[in-house]
């Protein structure tokens, strides 16, 4: 129903761009983690686009965002919302990433297929912590949950990954 609304928001974001105090620093700090989280959530294609949209939102609404307790977590939700919409419009994506052209190492398709079967928040936690080496607290900030919840996602996610991989 919100075809128009979405279009409007994006254009207004693009038109309201204003580099206010602090936003550059915030973007530099949060962007790598936000991008990795959204790529883990939606795959490389949609994840990058969702990251751009979330960052655009941060720039356009920095005044409001700066007052939030956890702007990084809010931005992840912005990216999630956009990514979900992209996903609804696209064909099925079974993998997070195809074989990278720049890498000679073969990509682990079995593990990718298993990761896709995890709950999104479990997948994001597992990929950020064990794929990229982020701390529990860094992941907690992005997911906007307590670190105990991150630990919970990790434990359940890893247990499920093992089950899936062993049965495949």
């Amino acid at each position: 129903m919100d075809l128009i609304r979405i279009g409007l928001s994006s254009v207004m974001l693009a038109r309201e761009m204003d580099s206010s105090t602090g936003v550059d620093e915030f973007v530099l700090r949060v962007r790598p983690r936000l991008e990795r989280a959204l790529v883990a959530r939606f795959g490389v294609d949609d994840g990058l686009e969702a990251t751009d949209e979330a960052i655009a939102y941060a720039v356009a609404h920095w005044g409001r965002l700066a007052e939030m307790a956890n702007p990084a977590g809010y931005l992840f939700r912005v990216g999630q919302s956009y990514g979900s919409r992209l996903r609804r419009r696209s064909q099925r994506r079974e993998l997070l990433v195809d074989q990278p052209a720049s890498s000679s190492a073969p990509i682990d398709m079995d593990l990718q297929r298993a990761l896709i079967k995890l709950k999104p928040e479990q997948r994001v936690a597992v990929v950020l912590v064990h794929g990229h080496g982020h701390s529990y607290s860094e992941v907690a900030e992005i997911l906007d949950v307590p670190t105990t919840t991150v630990a919970n996602h990790l434990n359940r996610g890893l247990a499920r990954l093992r089950r899936i991989l062993e049965s495949s």
């Binding site: 129903m1 919100d2 075809l3 128009i4 609304r5 979405i6 279009g7 409007l8 928001s9 994006s10 254009v11 207004m12 693009a14 761009m17 580099s19 962007r31 991008e35 990795r36 883990a40 490389v44 294609d45 994840g47 990058l48 686009e49 990251t51 751009d52 655009a56 941060a58 939700r77 912005v78 919302s81 996903r87 609804r88 419009r89 696209s90 064909q91 099925r92 997070l96 990433v97 195809d98 990278p100 052209a101 720049s102 890498s103 190492a105 990509i107 682990d108 709950k119 999104p120 597992v126 990929v127 064990h130 794929g131 990229h132 080496g133 919840t149 890893l158 093992r162 991989l165 062993e166």
Partner: protein
């Protein structure tokens, strides 16, 4: 498999994801760095059309609803450097239909509201009719502009009849489940136009028709959409968390047990089933069978009803905190509805749609 093996494999996947993300960013510099990426979306005077299309693809896909935007995305996938004046991309309706269709007017809207459906039921949201009128006047303005710039065959993209219903599919709608399984209601606009570099330049270039039509249609309505956008995000945020709530976890466990008892193991919650089937290009018999077992289990354990009540409670609390803003947004919606008539007159003139 031991833990060390699994962790090593996860680390390698992390490296692959970083590598590929970096490669894509290098290929599409507009996405490069946060603030400069967003600023670059505003620049329309680039050196090459293809890079412009790339740079603006994310915005364009949304600005034009889905019609032209989808074609822009198709172009990126098909050929990043198309030959000048050669048709690029394919009209959306030429793609094979990935799933069965369903008439959105047949949805059961009396079932307990959950999830994305809440936002459309809010008094500050635009009605289906208003959205359709806005979309029509916007597309008409774009086509008129294109005609004036030497593209006499450019046609308005028609508002998809299912668009008002896309967020209203209910997990308990059995008729829908029997046809569509876990798939979303298709509501993609059908774009009758074909696109060349010249078309894109007229549409998306500096002071292009997309921008001209945008300004003439929505330029004076931003007062409504700014606040509406914030409130809709608030609704989404307020109802987030059911699955991890105590009530949600409990009813999901009951649902999962019911599914298992009916031969469908491995699903911790209904969203697991959605993830497994919803993006498949086809609706399979297995999907329909699982969906119907899911629906029966949902009814047996009261999953959707529990979700509805939980979300209603969260929304009630949110609405109390936003009471004043919601009242103002309703007034702005009414003002927009009044102004729309004038915008339509200016666009259609003596040629009513």
């Amino acid at each position: 498999m031991n833990d060390t093996d699994l962790l090593t494999r996860l680390h390698q996947i992390g490296d692959h994801l970083d590598e590929e993300a970096a490669r894509r960013r290098q290929a599409a510099p507009a996405r490069e760095v946060g603030v400069s990426a967003t600023s670059s979306r505003r620049r329309t005077s680039g050196s090459g059309l293809s890079s412009k299309v790339l740079a603006r693809a994310a915005v364009v896909a949304l600005v034009i609803g889905l019609g032209v935007g989808l074609v822009a995305v198709t172009v990126r996938d098909v050929d990043p450097e198309p030959a000048s004046n050669q048709p690029v991309g394919t009209p959306v309706d030429a793609q094979p239909s990935p799933a069965p269709t369903y008439d959105g007017t047949k949805l059961d809207l009396t079932l307990p509201i959950v999830g994305r459906a809440w936002a459309d039921t809010m008094a500050f949201s635009l009605s289906a009719d208003t959205n359709a009128r806005l979309y029509a006047v916007w597309q008409t303005a774009m086509a008129q502009c294109m005609r004036e710039r030497g593209f006499p065959d450019h046609q308005p993209v028609v508002y998809p009849p299912n668009a008002p219903f896309q967020d209203r599919v209910n997990p308990l709608d059995r008729d829908y489940a029997e046809v569509m399984g876990y798939h979303e209601l298709p509501a993609e606009p059908v774009d009758p136009n074909t696109y060349t570099d010249a078309t894109y330049a007229a549409l998306e270039g500096e002071d292009g028709c997309a921008e001209v039509a945008w300004d003439s249609t929505f330029g004076r309505l931003t007062y409504y959409f700014d606040e509406n956008d914030r409130l809709r995000a608030g609704v989404a945020s307020a109802i987030t968390g059911f699955e991890t709530s105590d009530e949600g976890s409990e009813v999901a466990d009951e649902w999962s047990t019911c599914m298992k008892a009916n031969g469908r193991s491995g699903f911790d919650s209904p969203s697991d089933a959605v993830r497994m089937y919803a993006d498949d290009p086809h609706v399979t018999d297995d999907e329909i069978a699982t969906r119907l077992i899911d629906l029966d289990c949902n009814l047996a354990v009261g999953y959707t009803q529990t979700q509805h009540e939980w979300e209603q409670t969260q929304l009630d609390a949110w609405q109390l905190t936003e009471q004043e803003a919601i009242g103002e947004a309703i007034a702005k919606r009414e003002q927009l509805e009044l102004e729309l008539g004038a915008i339509e007159s200016a666009t259609y003139g003596s040629n009513p749609r």
